[in-house]
Point group: C2
Chain length 371, copies 2
């Protein structure tokens, strides 16, 4: 019926998961303690402290949600939106679309702020929606994993706050790979995922929420539509009260704790520079193969590089050969971009110069045969 | 800011998590492959097949939800309930309460079928609610983790099906520790958790859904209120289509795969007998210490044993000493049972004769000093 686990050693250069430091794999195999064990409570406290460091925030409620990045997205939306609330959602890729879908499932009245996939949302677009509507919340994606675009946030944050709305940022792909200054940018709610630049296995979604946003949650007229993701219940477990809500995914918290320690040891500045320089090296290497970058120039996310598939080249065949002959995974395009772009992730532990060398060499060989 | 992970070796005899077989811990540290990697798709298929074996079902949609047991509970309720639907929820413990809370958050009109905590729900109570109301769904907990009661399901299932309603069963604590015959009992939706009798770390919730229930989901008039838990989207990833929904918690699936293989190797019959005989041995051992079982006689769940705390004994002090001096975790009472009962779990890998010996010996010593 089933065989012993025996998986090939992949170099993960797709849109996530990224490769995981052996130290993190080792942490995963640490024997379990209970979710209310004094030792685990210590680990929870340290994990919150480390998450605050990576999010660059003092927010008390800075915790891993027990689900993947999309669970973090849903946590922020379902807690902040009450049925009938107006919500402005910026949509310039798949994950903006996902936020819009979720926001409407939460009962929100969604005002879409749209840009072509591959281009940023301009501040004047947000200004317009704030003039024509009264959103309680403005939501935007920092690094759009589907397009490779890195969205500037500073001007938009100011516009949102001047209007009195809450500012929600998707940092699934950016956190740990470039600056996500939650406090300085006055972000009210921000979520991420473990399997991108934090280089921890998928399964948790770090979330941080400002006091202003928590006040909005505590002042709700209706119960949060999700019990599992209800932050007013979850915060009682992740605080001095330690009130049981659901059993924490203990091994995943071990892994996150270790991956965050590795980030603290490297230091944020050095880590971001590493992501930058490996992305630059990738750009040079792709240029030498005649492969062009696809996302809007000047706004490219260093950890997720969207490149145009050269004309006449069959997307899936190339990716299949990369995987089967070279054990290298890269990502294809999503939705309307399927067959048009490849997405090359250089995230966390995967962001290594040697990985760029191996990918370029393998691609060169495969493309030569494909012509 | 933080220290290297260094956790004590606990014997986990609480309400979950249970101890994990070293083979499962090893599986957790297997390097990652992508969530669309052909190798991972194989592992997904095998995991579904193994889950069908443990649930004793042929249901196609038999998958691990990417969250803990409560996420599985919410998955079943949020998919099966549309706003305005009548739902009968059996409440005789904390987890029945939780289902009632969730069902109302899903927009359901909840009809409560109540019994005292520690007693089973009688079939005639379900009969009554089916006569006085027209619930679309009847929900019940199989092994109530908060009280140690094992609920008979056969008669109730027949009543529910005769009425045309759907039958939802919480098998969080029972699955893998006693019979949960999904097909034979005509259960339409059933969820469990990995950290109880499956003896895998917490973080996934196995769920199985009948075709009748899937038809109800596909025929909904409104979108499922949760995007993350929307089974009509999730089933496209866990099928031949392999449509990306969210990134699967890969390492957790590795662990579940291995823990299910261990169950298949042991065999269900032998595994259930082991749980029975260790529970009997515990009952004898507790009797010799003058400690009485608390749950209704004849309906005691072998994997979660609720016992009365002897008079004059301070609950938390005893549990603290068990943990600090003997590295043994047992559970306290929840809600109204706090301070009145202990909950001794003998689940999966933790259900070992030697653990009963060690616990009895340690309790004897502590109780002697406490008097």
């Amino acid at each position: 019926m089933s065989r012993r686990l025996d998986v090939p050693e992949r170099i993960l250069l797709g849109p996530g998961p990224s490769n995981v430091d052996p130290r993190v794999l080792k942490a995963m195999s640490t024997p379990l303690v209970g979710h209310l064990d004094p030792k685990f409570l210590e680990i929870m406290d340290e994990t919150m402290e480390l998450l605050r460091f990576v999010f660059q925030t003092k927010n008390r409620l800075t915790i891993p949600i027990s689900g993947t990045g999309s669970a973090g997205m849903e946590t922020c939306l379902v807690n902040l939106i009450e049925p009938g609330d107006e919500v402005a959602v910026c949509v310039n890729g798949l994950f903006g679309e996902r936020m819009a879908d979720m926001a409407s499932r939460c009962g929100g009245i969604v005002r879409r702020v749209e840009a072509e996939w591959g281009r940023i949302i301009e501040p004047r677009q947000v200004e317009e929606v704030l003039q024509s509507a009264s959103p309680k919340l403005v939501a935007i994606v920092h690094a759009e994993t589907s397009t490779g675009v890195l969205q500037p946030l500073k001007e938009i944050s100011k516009l949102v706050h001047d209007s009195g709305a809450l500012f929600l940022v998707d940092a699934v792909t950016s956190l740990g790979g470039c600056e996500v200054k939650v406090d300085e940018l006055k972000i009210d709610a921000c979520y991420s995922a473990t399997q991108k630049c934090l280089s921890c296995p998928p399964g948790l979604s770090p979330v941080t929420v400002s006091e202003k946003a928590m006040d909005a949650i505590r002042g709700r007229k209706s119960k949060v539509r999700s019990w599992y993701l209800d932050l007013s219940l979850i915060e009682k477990y992740w605080s001095k009260d330690r009130v049981y809500h659901h059993t924490a995914p203990i091994s995943m918290v071990y892994a996150l704790h270790e991956s965050l320690r590795i980030i603290a040891e490297e230091g944020l500045k050095k880590r971001f520079e590493r992501h930058e320089s490996n992305a630059e090296f990738l750009a040079e290497s792709m240029a030498s193969l005649g492969i062009k970058f696809w996302a809007q120039e000047g706004y490219r996310a260093p950890m997720i590089n969207a490149v145009s598939i050269p004309e006449g080249i069959e997307d899936t065949r190339v990716r299949r050969l990369l995987l089967s002959e070279h054990n290298i995974e890269i990502g294809g395009g999503l939705g309307e971009l399927a067959g048009k772009i490849w997405r090359i992730g250089l995230m966390g532990y995967s962001s290594q110069r040697k990985n760029v060398v191996l990918l370029s060499r393998a691609l060169k060989e495969i493309l030569r045969r494909a012509k």
